[in-house]
Amino acid sequence: MVSTRTLEHSLDTNRKRTSDLRTALLFIAPAAIGFVVFYLVPAVRGVYFSFTRYNILGTPTWIGTENFEKIAVDPLFWNAMWVTVGYVLLNIGFQTVIAIVLAVMMQRLTKSIALRGALLLPWLISNVIAAMLWFWLLDYQIGLFNQVIEWMGASKIAFFADETWAIPTIAFVNVWRHMGYTALLVFAGLQTIPKYIYEAASIDGASEWTSFWKMTLPLLRPVLAMILVITVTGSFQVFDTVAVTTRGGPVNVTRVMQYYIYQKAFGEGQFGYGSALAVILFIILAVLAAIQLRMLRAGESDLA
């Protein structure tokens, strides 16, 4: 890897140093229009609403930072924050590890497309259906899993609503749905690693285990960085699974941030307050993404 990097360096010095700005602008123009119209403008409007009292139907009234001051002392906000963080940690931890394991196995163990397809299957159904299906399978009274638990003589578990089980259960459902998908992303990343590197490693007598840690993982870094950023931001936005099952309850056990935002903005007609919550979430996610990208040096590749 060191050698390829120095190679790139030498190539760099040969390169014509003129800027590609004009070309680059042409290349990003269509995407830029999509970005500005469908993301930036709505986001800017949202930020504006976060400084207002507004219920979607009326006219927004400017109230400065009042929403943010209220949020700072809103126990439900802090509750939602901790519930969400707990969910994200569980979800990301399991999903990432499982995805890497599956992807490596997809590559090293078998070339069967049917098998890859089977692992991707959960991702082909929507969040809502996945949640409903598992909610049913895990139901306290008629769910298959609790029947099995009872046959084994243990006490049934209220998976989706028990204080200890609820968040792990919701995390499980989403890991189930996304593991094949994330594995496919990792797998696509594995495909970018040239064969000669593995060949070289096996000639050097490196075991599969060492070559994974010493070669595969470092070379996967740009793709892994992307996957982490995507899955972390994605899982902070968990909503559907809660909305079709427990709706935040019982008490506040499953009131994740997006659900709380939705409840405030649409359910309770406090769009300004909901927007302020969303702005805070946005800032947290932006900081997290920046840290992740920096730590994983996502902009560089060890290869080229």
């Binding site: 500005v36 409007r45 139907l57 006219t59 309850g249 019982p250 008490v251 009131r255 649409f266």
Partner: protein, 464 residues
């Protein structure tokens, strides 16, 4: 050169931004057209024509309303396009429609939503037009029409149907317990020891070893059949199908007056006693805990034979009687300390959107929906109870044809033991406060006196 290009690109970007901002802004905050009918002014429905949109959420009722629409078109020439959305999508669709100016001309409205729609100026006041057309609003089941009069004294909907609460029971489980079905109609309840009602619930409960809840050795941690089911949660601030039929017999009222109360009574002893009693049932293993039922649709659990009895609303009749292998019966809710039964009384209505561009046809359609001609058709379909008494009877007959005696629901209407669904401002915010608060008492995470603080929070909403 680089900077020059960059600036040019920046200008282009700014132009696009400005364009999309204006596009979003215009029509964004669409003001309800106040041309006519704005402040209860009459519209002339005699020349109604053209096409209107109508939304509802219950697909099972769609065939009946399609029939109404066909008859209506024959009579007036107005064509009605009916669209159905499932409950959750329905309200998102209505809200988005209000904002974007694409809401339906007429839609099925719910008591928990309409006060906010009135505040936001989205509903058309119907009084003047109804009066001009000579529509009699006294022809509905008593009290239903009053539900839809706003704080400003104006009418925002015409009743279409109503619902009450009764006990659904599993005939096989009742028989197995050696209980006569007629006994279920004679139960009495009080918040201290639950009365004969709790005795019955205990007796109907069976653990995995076949031991009944009122027998020694009953294992409350392994219950096979609960004497009483629980409908999807604690019921939050109104407990319509969970506890309102008990609290309603204690003399307690949710608010100081109804509709349009401005003070809630969640700190009253009667209410707290009722909730404590409910929590005690779960604690004794006679009723599932809130954790076990959160988010569940209770019908499927009843259909699996896990509940001997469950309180639920009349809109569930067809589902509850539809399960294969379960023989379902109906009993009225128990008599409480007041010496009477009680049931929450909830009604739906059809409302006209203030932004409709065909108000004449819209009001005409609402009038037709509220007339005996259409409600009879709805009644004959035997899905819900229409608001006009003659149509209610048709529904009762339609249910009877299928062997379902719905008297336990109608007894409340006939004997005047209904009380109205609480209608106040801030309904959704109040639910946001009360749902977790009542949950917490049910789950044992908080003492029942914690409801005092929740009540204060609720009442603070009304004091600015």
């Amino acid at each position: 050169m680089a900077t020059f290009n960059f600036r040019k690109a920046g200008t282009a970007l700014a132009a696009v931004t400005a364009l999309s901002l204006t596009l979003t802004a215009c029509g964004g905050e669409s003001e309800p057209a106040a041309t006519n009918g704005g402040d209860g002014e009459a519209v002339d429905t005699s020349a109604a024509s053209g096409q209107i949109d109508y939304w509802l959420w219950d697909n099972n009722q769609k065939p009946a309303y399609e029939q109404c629409a066909a008859d209506f078109q024959e009579e007036t020439g107005v064509s009605v396009t009916i669209t159905q959305y499932a409950w959750d999508d329905y309200w998102s669709g209505i809200t988005n429609g209000f904002v974007a100016g694409t809401a339906p001309d007429v839609f099925t409205n719910h008591l928990s939503r309409y006060p906010e729609f009135v505040t936001q100026g989205q509903l058309m006041a119907l009084d003047a037009t109804l009066e001009a057309d000579g529509v009699d609003v006294d022809g509905y089941q008593e009290g239903l029409a009053d539900l839809w009069v706003g704080q400003d004294g104006l009418r925002y909907g015409l009743p279409k149907d109503f619902d009450t609460v009764a006990i659904f029971y599993n005939k096989a489980l009742i028989e197995e317990a050696g209980v006569d079905e007629a006994d279920l109609a004679a139960l009495e309840w009080n918040p201290e020891d639950g009365g004969t009602y709790e005795e019955m619930i205990a007796h109907l409960t069976i653990d995995n070893n076949g031991v009944r809840g009122d027998e020694p050795g009953f294992d409350k941690t392994k219950v096979a059949v609960y004497g009483l089911g629980l409908d999807g949660g604690s019921g939050g601030g109104n407990g319509q199908t969970q506890w309102s039929m008990y609290s309603g017999t204690t003399g307690w009222t949710v608010t100081d007056k109804n509709p349009w109360g401005t003070k809630y009574n969640y700190d009253a002893a009667e209410f707290k006693d009722t909730i404590s009693w409910m929590a005690s049932l779960a604690e004794k293993g006679y009723m599932p805990t809130v954790e076990a039922v959160t988010g569940q649709s209770s019908g499927d659990i009843f259909g699996a034979g896990k509940y001997a009895m469950i309180t639920n609303g009349s809109w569930m009749i067809n589902q509850m009687f539809g399960y294969t292998g379960i023989e379902t019966g109906l009993a009225p809710t128990p008599v409480g300390p007041s010496g009477e039964r009680a049931s929450m009384y909830n009604g739906l209505a059809d409302s006209v959107w203030a932004g409709s561009d065909n108000k004449a046809a819209a009001v005409k359609w609402v009038e037709y929906l509220g007339s005996a001609a259409c409600q009879d058709i709805v009644g004959e379909a035997g899905v819900v109870f229409p608001a006009i008494p003659s149509a209610t009877e048709k529904a009762q007959a339609a249910f009877a044809d299928r062997g379902i005696d719905v008297e336990p629901f109608l007894v409340h209407v006939n004997e005047g033991t209904t009380f109205l669904f609480p209608i106040t401002d801030y309904a959704s915010q109040i639910n946001g406060i009360m749902q977790p608060a009542v949950d917490a008492v049910f789950t044992g995470q908080a003492d029942v006196d914690s409801l005092d603080a929740a009540n204060e929070q609720v009442n603070a909403l009304f004091n600015g």
